[in-house]
């Protein structure tokens, strides 16, 4: 152990304090091990806080016919059947208990007149299934878990960025990074590490995601040798704000459509009648996003290149009660009163289905001692996530990852060794932007990588475009070696941005490489040059891994759904 960094040690280190990280930390602490929880922001500010519409669980409070089997089938079908059915089964079965547990921990949901948890309809869910609190479900979830965690003996380190996983031989030994406040380096030894670092929506310009969503955890896992899966699957949420420019991308919750919102084009036509006459506005997100895109392409878009979403027919009182923050958001930021007229919306990058490949139900990655849960993990959502399924994912698999990491840690003999060489290597990498030869502005590189993603890896993709995008990313990676930071290590956003950009460039490369390989259209991945689904590709997931000479892409068979579950998919199709 060296004296130039702050040293800490835990049995289980959880990186990330969104829903998944908090739930994992609670589970690990309850299992009786020493737990450290690290986050880049202040506690309670993680991206999860922004979730609006609700958490999906088949409680059947409004529709008694709902049960885990229907939730299973909806989720598999939404994911175009490249999900890992084993994860989906666990998920659908355990989500209800995780929701009731939140209530026992002080979380409050909207109620039915009979005093049960109220559930609302959402895209591609057969029944009313989303438990919610108005349109601020994420805040309720994070506050509940946060209070539970700090009273469970979990030690929280706020505003710490970890930027490298440390290894002892093949297995995990901890992580290294710095305190944002003053740039002090910190090395945390741990027998097991759980990644709960969320997604990487920030690789796109128009996104609903917060600044934290730079995919650090996924990139660190890649650098540590873990396998990533389904990286080509990036979700566009059909309804983001479009105007004024400063708010472009900010989410308009699907709950607006759940509460009866209607989509129209510039000619006033309810265009979803053409694209999905059965489910209409509540079709799955990939379908609605593509529909808006097609309307705009056909010249029937709204003034700022989107569509109109109108919920005003539900009446002012109802809207203010059920969608209070949407009402507020449009009034304050866009001067639009949604109780009186339509909002203008367009697709925005929202969620990544891909991420670290994990063992179903355990969250173990392919690196011993490294676990992942929440948005950073892959497998549950396949080619397209259904709304509300992320929040339940966080608590179901957060808990399981916490338990399994604790069990794993208990089985580890002695503390893994922290290799100061690895720490020093990372320190040098982090400090490089202060070298005299550095010239590139990280914000400019960030804007350029976003441009490349938006242009070449957007809603509609082509092989040619994807290859051009990949070339651009590779050249940006080269320029990123020379990023520049000014000033000192004291709370320095420009310096922090340098490491973010390096991480994002890894993920961009992975998205392009996987998207080039998948020569078909499925879920969120729409290839203009291969517009149809291909049965062969329907049996494969794409896996990205670090090889001796750069990034490699290979395929894996999608686990085959056993007959008794396959029946469920046919039955309700």
């Amino acid at each position: 152990m060296a004296d130039w960094y702050e040293a800490r040690r835990y049995d289980v280190l959880v990186i990330g304090a969104g829903g998944a990280g908090l739930r994992a930390a609670i589970a690990a602490a309850e299992a009786g091990v020493k737990v450290g929880l690290v986050c880049k922001s202040l506690l309670g500010k993680a991206h999860t806080v922004m979730a609006e519409g609700g958490i999906a669980a088949a409680l059947g409070n409004l529709d008694p016919n709902d049960n885990w089997e229907v939730h299973f089938a909806d989720t598999m079908r939404g994911g175009q059947r490249i999900n890992d059915y084993r994860m989906v089964e666990i998920f659908a079965k355990e989500a209800p208990e995780r929701v009731y547990e939140l209530e026992r921990w002080g979380g409050l949901f909207d109620r039915t007149p009979e005093g049960k948890i109220l559930q609302r309809p959402f895209g591609a869910h057969t029944y009313r299934r989303l438990c919610h609190v108005g349109d601020r479900t994420g805040l309720e979830l994070i506050r509940t878990l946060q209070d539970r965690a700090v009273h469970s003996g979990v030690e929280v380190l706020m505003e710490v960025t970890l930027s490298r996983l440390l290894k002892d031989g093949d297995r995990i030994a901890g992580a290294f990074g710095y305190r944002r406040e003053d740039g002090r380096f910190i090395a945390i030894g741990a027998k097991a590490v759980i990644l709960a670092t969320g997604g990487w929506g920030k690789v796109y310009k128009v996104t609903s995601n917060s600044w934290e969503c730079t995919g650090d955890g996924c990139a660190m896992a890649y650098e540590a040798g873990a396998e990533l899966m389904d990286m080509e699957m990036v979700q566009f949420h059909p309804t983001g704000m479009v105007w004024p420019p400063g708010v472009r991308g900010i989410l308009v919750t699907e709950a607006v459509r759940g509460e009866g919102g209607i989509l129209r084009n510039a000619k006033g036509e309810r265009f979803m009648q053409t694209y999905d006459p059965k489910k209409l506005e509540l079709s799955s997100r990939d379908v609605v996003s593509r529909s808006i895109y097609k309307e705009v392409e056909a010249g029937r878009g709204s003034p700022h290149g989107g569509a109109f979403l109108d919920v005003s027919h539900r009446g002012a009182e109802y809207i203010k009660k059920k969608l209070p923050s949407m009402y507020e958001q449009f009034l304050k930021l866009a001067d639009v009163d949604i109780t009186k007229g339509p909002m203008e919306v367009a697709p925005t990058i929202h969620y990544v289905m891909g991420g670290v490949r994990v063992a179903p139900g355990e969250g173990a990655s392919t690196v011993p001692g490294l676990f992942a849960a929440g948005e950073v993990a892959a497998g549950l959502h396949g080619a397209n996530r259904l709304g509300g399924n992320s929040l339940s994912d966080l608590v179901v698999f957060g808990k399981r990852a916490g338990e399994h990491a604790a069990r794993y840690a208990k089985g580890v003999d002695g503390d893994p060794r922290i290799d100061d060489g690895q720490a020093d290597e990372e320190r040098r990498l982090l400090l490089r932007p202060f070298d005299s030869g550095s010239t590139e502005n990280p914000y400019e590189l960030h804007a350029e990588l976003q441009e490349a993603m938006g242009t070449h890896a957007g809603i509609a993709r082509t092989g040619e475009g994807l290859r051009a995008g990949l070339d651009k990313i590779l050249s940006l990676q080269e320029r990123a070696e020379r990023m520049r930071a000014a000033g000192s290590l004291l709370y320095n956003p420009g310096w922090h941005a340098c490491r973010d950009v390096r991480f994002m460039l890894i993920l961009c490369e992975a998205i392009f490489r996987a998207a080039i390989e998948r020569t078909e259209s499925r879920g969120a991945h729409w290839r203009l040059d291969f517009p149809d689904q291909d049965a062969g590709w329907g049996r494969k997931n794409l896996v990205v891994q670090r090889g001796d000479r750069g990034m490699t892409v290979s395929t894996r068979s999608v686990p085959e759904v056993p007959p008794q579950l396959a029946r469920l998919l046919e039955a309700t199709a």
Binding site: L42, G115, P493
Partner: protein, 250 residues
């Protein structure tokens, strides 16, 4: 495109001053956009906190023209072209520029006994809308700490050692009024919580971006509860049996 003039505090523990920046204005721009513009184009070392840019996370608190506000919700056009001054929250120790050390708030939260239902009451619970509706208001808090910043008790020298501040009165009210909670925090409120120091000036209510009626709906009822428990134990006991323990739900 016109320019806006911003005077932004720059400095750290050792001192600092306002610095002036010109920022091109676009339609609908908020103060946080201007700060980002400065970071990206003029000085990448300018420190501020933010996350959601949608008034949902409570990270981007600062004093804009002397008033505690969320920068992501403060439109530039309301200032009609006059210069805008942005300073960090004054109630907390400065780290750098617009970033202050708010860790005290997290320590306070840790002192508050968490939600504690009866051991054998494992649910699923029936709680009727009328039993929970008034609590939603308290649960809306995004922990921006603007109310803490404006509270004169906390702003005074050593204030944070006397009073938990309005944010945590809201927190405690949400716990105390939960129909399933079984512990009393009256002793804490009267002692370390320092509820007696609040003299209902209502400044906190005025700045709350979530429009929580901090004094009317949280602090005053809590003050009454403390008074009951200390000076009218019978009433408190009665309420414990009738009111809190047995809401209509089971």
């Amino acid at each position: 495109m016109t320019d806006a003039t911003l005077h932004v505090f720059r400095g750290d523990k050792t001192g600092g001053d306002l610095r002036t920046y010109q920022v091109p204005v676009t339609e609908g721009m908020v103060v946080l956009d201007a700060i980002h513009y400065i970071q990206q184009h003029e000085d990448s070392t300018l420190a501020c906190r933010w996350n959601c840019k949608a008034a949902k996370c409570g990270s981007c608190s600062a004093e804009v023209n002397g008033k505690p506000r969320l920068m992501c919700k403060t439109r530039l056009d309301q200032f009609m072209g006059s210069p805008v001054t942005v300073r960090p929250l004054a109630a907390f120790p400065l780290i750098k520029d617009l970033v202050t050390d708010v860790s005290w708030n997290y320590r306070v939260n840790q002192e508050i006994p968490p939600f504690t239902p009866a051991r054998d009451d494992t649910g699923p619970w029936r709680m009727y809308p009328e039993d929970v509706d008034r609590m939603f208001e308290f649960r809306r808090c995004i922990e921006c700490f603007l109310c803490q910043d404006v509270c004169h008790v906390l702003r005074e020298h050593d204030g944070t050692s006397r009073y938990y501040g309005p944010r945590f009165m809201v927190r405690i009210a949400g716990l105390e009024m939960h129909p399933k909670d079984t512990v009393s925090r009256a002793h804490l409120l009267r002692g370390r919580g320092g509820i007696g120091f609040c003299n209902i000036t209502k400044c906190c209510e005025e700045v709350c971006p979530e429009e929580i009626h901090i004094t009317d709906n949280a602090i005053i009822p809590l003050k009454e509860r403390v008074a009951d428990e200390y000076f009218d134990p019978w009433r408190a006991l009665l309420r414990a049996f009738r009111g809190r323990r047995e809401p209509r739900g089971t």
